[in-house]
């Protein structure tokens, strides 16, 4: 069995001391920032990207991935114990998880959340291992027109599904594409949008935008609207779930995992949509829906499995096609690029240790999280007492050092300050910055493939519609837009975003 050989190879990579250590650092940091509100995985990964420069590629990716899925765990811990979602994806968990905690059943809630996430993680690891190679195989046959159409579909889907205002999200993608143009044009050698500044002829650094907008800009926005954080620290009773709890959670975990895995492959659907869908499904399937919101264990098991499955399956398009399915995944690709590895389907064949090592590490990381979370819950709750006024100078400290170390020059730090202000304006005007980051990453690739496609077809734009695979992507793109603009879907979406936000 090739699958098993590949997985065994992956574990042989992931189980080296160095990689285990980085996996541990990753999930530890992930849980930490998951617990702390006000700093998310996106900003953390952006901040730590430059540091990974000094680390071998496999270890770097293992650590960054650990931060990413670790944050989902941490977010749910605080949701259950103090009714405070550390991450947006944990909002749904608050509803029944916190109620369970109030009834003295915090132990079972935490345990079920951990078990559900672990099951989802295991399933998605297998899914990536199963479908990754054939997908990459297909993608290797793609020419320039197919790549252009695929990227177009990815960007449109991400924008349309991510924000609540489709026009604004799509416009942000275009903003990102425009920022991506800054720098020297590969074909003509001409400097574009460089404003006569020599540093800008190399383009705007990916880290500069990510840290500037998502770490610094976010801080300025938070300081304008200080949120009130009430922290109650009760003793955490370490209670294992009863047989009945496990029986009640079995199907919700399976269903949540399936929903999350399905939504995870689609670009743009964040973990919060997955967990919310799972919650709604469980409520519909329940014999007595009125129990929901009053401490139903199904309302914890399903969504927690769903958001973890979603987070992990986001790696499928990212690793096999080189197309990021979310802004955080765009950062992962950024990490690859920093290491001098061009993202795309060839990664799997040229760097098998990276692909399989990362997949195996995700399973190990999920196991570590179960161990890390259940006994250490008390420690995480204590961390909630760290006030934001101590937290944000620390974020600034690591951000600045990180950005400076990219080129060992202050220019990048100055640029990040500017992007902090730009990001603030975007956030205040409700212009979602996440689609911008996707556009920024894909911009240069899109232009390159557009040029090549039209060169092959001798300037005939119908090339995107006459090649079958490309046509398929184009039709899918149009369908996504049509479906989302339909009034019925629009109303439903509005109600979902509302309830997720409140």
């Amino acid at each position: 069995m090739e699958l098993f050989n590949n997985l065994i190879f992956g574990f042989s990579v992931a189980l080296t001391w160095q990689n285990l250590w980085f996996c541990f650092i990753g999930v530890f940091l992930g849980t930490l920032i998951g617990v702390l509100p006000g700093i998310g995985p996106l900003a953390t990964i952006a901040m730590l990207l430059p540091i990974t420069f000094n680390v071998p590629p496999v270890a770097a990716l293992i650590m960054l991935a650990g931060i990413y899925y670790g944050a989902q765990y941490g977010g749910s811990t605080t949701a259950i114990l103090v009714n405070l979602p550390g991450e947006t994806s944990a909002v749904v968990t608050c509803m029944d998880g916190y109620q369970m905690a109030r009834q003295g059943r915090a132990g079972p809630a935490l345990a079920i959340a951990a078990i559900g996430s672990f099951v989802a993680g295991t399933f998605c690891t297998l899914l990536i291992a199963l479908f990754g190679p054939p997908l990459a195989e297909v993608a290797l046959k793609f020419g320039a027109p197919e790549y252009f159409s695929l990227m177009l579909m990815g960007l449109v889907a991400a924008a349309v599904l991510a924000g609540d205002n489709i026009t604004k999200s799509l416009a942000m993608v275009v903003v990102g594409l425009l920022f991506g143009i800054v720098g020297t044009d590969v074909n003509s050698g001409m400097a574009r949008y460089s404003f006569g500044i020599p540093e800008l002829t190399d383009g705007i650094g990916f880290i500069v935008i990510a840290v500037g907008v998502f770490a610094m800009g976010e801080i300025i926005a938070n300081l304008g609207d200080p949120e009130e954080r009430k922290v109650f620290t009760d003793k955490v009773p370490a209670l294992m779930p009863s047989k009945k709890d496990l029986k009640d959670s079995f199907w919700p975990i399976i269903r949540g995992t399936s929903i999350g895995a399905f939504l995870g492959v689609l670009p743009g659907t964040g973990p919060s949509i997955a967990s919310f869908s799972s919650y709604m499904l469980e409520k519909k399937m329940a014999d007595d829906p009125s129990r929901f919101g009053k401490g139903a264990i199904e309302g914890v098991a399903g969504p927690e499995s769903a958001n973890n499955a979603d987070a992990q399956c986001k790696f499928i398009p990212t690793l096999t096609l080189g197309i990021p399915a979310s802004a955080t995944m765009a950062l992962m690709l950024g990490a690859l690029t920093i290491q001098g590895i061009a993202p795309g389907p060839q990664v799997m064949t040229q760097k098998p240790d990276l692909f399989w090592g990362l997949i195996a590490s995700m399973w190990i990381g999920n196991a570590m999280l179960v161990i890390l979370n259940l006994p250490l819950v008390g420690l995480w709750v204590m961390l909630l007492k760290v006030p934001y006024r101590l937290l944000f100078p620390a974020i600034m400290c690591f951000s600045c050092i990180g950005i400076y170390s990219v080129n060992n020059s202050p220019f990048e730090v100055y640029m990040a300050s500017i992007f902090a202000l730009i990001g603030l304006v975007w956030m205040k005007l409700d212009m979602p910055p996440a689609p911008m980051l996707l556009g920024f990453v894909l911009g240069p690739l899109m232009e390159e493939n557009l040029r090549r496609a039209l060169l092959i077809s001798r300037g005939d734009p119908t090339v995107f519609f006459t090649r079958p695979i490309s046509l398929g992507f184009m039709i899918a793109t149009v369908l996504i837009i049509i479906v989302m603009v339909l009034p019925a879907v629009k109303a439903r979406r509005a109600s979902i975003t509302d309830s997720v936000q409140t």
Binding site: M190, I220, R389, P393, Y404, S405, N408, K428, M431, L454
Partner: protein
């Protein structure tokens, strides 16, 4: 509801998009446009700029219709001091060294917050400097002078 442009969220968002797109298009005029077959460096940016302006107009019109207000408050203090603290860091880092740069950055950043306690900030600064030294200089071996001419390089 009567249209009111002041504090109108989508109206300003539209203006930002139109501005970004227009600047993009105007600057791209200097780059050879080429044809669809042989695209010049100006082709892609001009097309994107045009799309941007169109989106901007649509958003602006939404603003005229829905009259949504900008939510929340601005902290003028943070808006000025926080970017400034990063700029100071960059400059001092290049000319004086790692430790002085952090010694200025951390209190300056803290000063952009709503609460500032001297003792607490002093402790935080010392703690973060030691932590950064341990991680970045001794752990990762980044080649920065700690204090130029005095300590390290």
């Amino acid at each position: 509801m009567k249209f009111d442009w002041r504090n109108n969220r989508d109206f300003f968002a539209g203006l930002v998009y139109i501005g970004t797109g227009a600047v993009g298009m105007i600057m791209a005029l200097d780059y050879p446009f080429g044809s669809a077959l042989r695209m010049g460096p100006g082709y892609f940016p001009t097309v994107l700029g045009g799309i941007m302006v169109a989106f901007g107009l649509a958003v602006l019109l939404q603003g005229v219709k829905n009259n949504e207000k900008i939510k929340g408050n601005w902290s003028i203090r943070a808006l000025i001091i926080l970017p400034l603290s990063a700029t100071i860091f960059g400059y001092v880092m290049e000319h004086v060294g790692f430790i002085p740069a952090l010694a200025l950055l951390i209190p300056a950043a803290a000063a952009s917050g709503n609460e500032f306690k001297w003792g607490e900030v002093a402790l935080l600064t010392i703690g973060l400097i030691v932590l950064s030294l341990a991680i970045f200089i001794w752990g990762l071996g980044l080649p920065y002078p700690l204090i130029k001419g005095l300590w390290g390089y």
